[in-house]
Symmetry: C2
Subunit: 447 residues, 2 copies
């Protein structure tokens, strides 16, 4: 295989003959010389191919359109005095898949909303090249992080008979004839946590990284019907341990991804007036703060005039405006809010000694608000049953989950990180539809 | 966090005081001394904890049952003359989650079929500990392999409006009220390939690793309704390139996984009379053979009496018995069969110049038969349309896919590897239900 353009730019020798392939991103010049920028997706950088009239019919080359696939043989040249560090003087060139002007990506910038109509093409713009390369690296670094900490990678089931938190947002799955293919009602997983707990009891440290689903009929910038989730679960961990795991993970993957994508971050940073890299570096250098929910309420009360929801009392389910205020203005860095009132948290969370709060945490980060939610899990079967009744969750269906507590489950803790939220945070884009290759939302299923 | 038992066994210093946690796998001894084997899932090896009557009430310790979670403080001791290389002399011990005799995993071996009834518990046997640890490492090494070759990791959509190969085996997805949540019919992906092709056109080298689904009403040892698939797609690759990628990938992941799990492979190998490791090593050392489908037919014809299906002519869709004969007996190693008749291959495969075969390959391995299937993709829009008509695939629904060919798609190649098939091959287990934590098959949805 030929070298990628990223490898060529980073490591090639001056005057060496090479072959490469890629797609045209621009074609300019005159009747003596033409310059074609070529990109192969290995980096957002293009490499410049120079065509001289001595070797090429430039009238023909001029007709080569943006998006066409080229096969090039040429001489690599370092150009220390030019804007680009190198270029390739073409010896031989073939347009092996010519396009015409109907190719949607042309010179002028297209707004993100228009690009959402063409998810099969939009990755051939600079912005989506940058986002999707960073997304890929974030995913790989998440695997690397958990591997470095000795975690087992677990595939929890996608089709399940439990709907996790009892929120009733599960999609129904059946075959074409709607004949109960699985002999019972089947839904798409909203979480892998419950199955994850079963494997943590035995393997100690496990994590999942798979798709999850919510049939939520809301169309916000932050919600999708299909999204990927990372869910570690660690036996013997308590709330404080899992909070620090989440902080360690985020710092690891963000640091590695920044190192691997200087060009992509530079591009995104320029579009965001230099805020992006600064924010991420601030995050890396800030020590995680931990704050009791009850303390958070006291802090918010004092400035309640700032918010749309001004009725701030113990028991309030914090809204994004409150979370953003805490992360952006008060702490200016990551903050974990802990020990929430049990009423708006899931049944499986550990009931604290006060009888009214659970050992849960939400990790808030500047600019985004909640990025991660997690908890220590309840081990007392009677408390679990009582909480399940409160949420109308069938005890019979969940008997297997309750049984884990009889079979050596000494308590575990875990969290969920919505992967698209992480991509949004790290790339600075503000719509979840631009963080995933083919977004699925209410009423919207393209390709 | 405490060290894992794997770390303790591999690297601990004699006479050092340590703390550890894990679950009881056996408890034996007398009224002077007791030995508890402890496992934490980091390895299939147990570590032996020694309890002396001077420090412990051994009548109490005797009551601690298999499956209970312990918290131990003790002195690590190397025992070069004993069966096990080391043990821990307990100083302090707590049974933090006692079990009773209802814990399903006891000393006697349970058959695999019975264990399938308790997927939330079965990983606490040696055999499932070994299988699932190997599965986890195989998954990680697949990511490592593609990363080392410069591939982008792509998440293709799970909910889609295409059913891929037109086989009509898609599960239908909708919300609780069956109101067409996505405003059109939605199915679970049977492949990520078509979306993968869109990203290969632009990023050059991509791979997917995600769940795929088939609503097939068959209950064989080799089929599941939900399984994970790895699908690389490489722009500019032709058939031969992609075959060699598949061979390189398999050898890489198998080699790394063998290196990382000596104990788990030793255990599985002993259950299989020493065939497993030998087979895998033979595979690693054998050069991949490539054989024309038409030649395969000639070879099979000569020994047709061996088979149930004896009518062996050009046009036959090879059955498992034929594939196994070629891999197990003729080549005794991996063999790629290429250029199949177009009639039983998918519409997107590249039509060869003979007009009757397509540039497809199946990679067969001894003991399993087909492990991988792939092809070079057709780039000619008219040929694609004609093949789509043949299979009754809607051209309108697939216009976006056809458009890729107008937008710089210079041809790509890819393959699909069913991850559970790989787990079966590498662990030597013969039922797909034992290769995935929570198997989903026709009529069967446990937990």
């Amino acid at each position: 295989m030929d070298k990628s353009i990223k490898e060529i730019i980073n490591s090639y020798q001056d005057q060496k003959e090479i072959e490469l392939k890629g797609w045209i991103t621009s074609n300019r010049g005159n009747n003596k010389i033409r310059f074609i920028s070529l990109n192969d997706g290995s980096t957002i950088l293009n490499i410049q191919i120079v065509f001289n009239q001595e070797k090429f019919d430039l009238e023909e080359i001029e007709k080569w359109k943006i998006g066409s696939a080229l096969n090039i043989r040429g001489i690599f040249k370092l150009t220390p005095n030019a804007k680009q560090s190198c270029e390739i003087e073409a010896i031989e060139a073939n347009n092996i898949s010519p396009t015409d002007d109907s190719f949607p990506i042309q010179k002028q910038e297209i707004n993100l909303e228009t690009l959402r109509e063409i998810p099969h093409i939009r990755h051939r713009t600079n912005i989506f090249r940058a986002i999707m390369l960073i997304r890929s690296t974030l995913a790989k670094e998440i695997h690397n992080f958990f591997d470095s900490e000795g975690f087992m990678y677990l595939h929890t089931p996608i089709i399940t008979s439990n709907d996790g938190e009892g929120a009733g947002e599960g999609f129904i799955v059946d075959d074409e004839n709607k004949e109960l293919f699985f002999s019972k009602k089947a839904t798409l997983a909203v979480t892998g946590q419950l199955h994850g707990e079963s494997y943590a009891t035995g393997f100690t440290k496990i994590y999942t990284f798979g798709p999850t689903f919510r049939a939520e009929k809301s169309n916000t910038k932050r919600h999708a019907a299909e999204f990927w989730m990372i869910e570690p679960e660690v036996a013997f961990y308590e709330l404080n341990d899992i909070i620090h795991l989440s902080d360690r993970m985020l710092k690891y993957v963000i640091k590695k991804t920044l190192e691997k994508h200087p060009e992509e971050f530079k591009f995104l940073d320029e579009r965001q007036e230099g805020r992006l890299i600064k924010n991420l570096e601030t995050f890396l250098n800030k020590k995680l703060q931990i704050l009791e929910y009850s303390q958070a309420i006291e802090m918010l009360k004092k400035v309640k005039e700032k918010f749309v929801e001004k009725n701030i009392e113990y028991g309030l389910d914090l809204a994004t405006e409150h979370e953003k205020y805490l992360a952006d203005e008060v702490f200016q860095g990551p903050v974990a809010i802990i020990n929430y009132p049990k009423e708006f948290k899931a049944f499986y969370m550990y009931l604290n000694n006060d009888g009214k709060s659970v050992a849960a945490f939400d990790l808030l980060v500047p600019g985004v608000g909640e990025l991660i939610g997690g908890s220590q899990r309840e081990v007392d079967i009677e408390k679990l049953k009582s909480r399940m009744s409160y949420y109308n969750i069938s005890i019979e269906e969940m008997q297997w989950y309750l049984d884990l507590r009889r079979f050596g489950d000494a308590g575990s803790s875990g969290f969920g990180l919505g992967f698209e939220r992480l991509v949004m945070y790290v790339t600075g884009i503000d719509n979840i539809r631009d963080s995933i290759p083919y977004p699925r939302t209410f009423g919207n299923l393209k390709m």
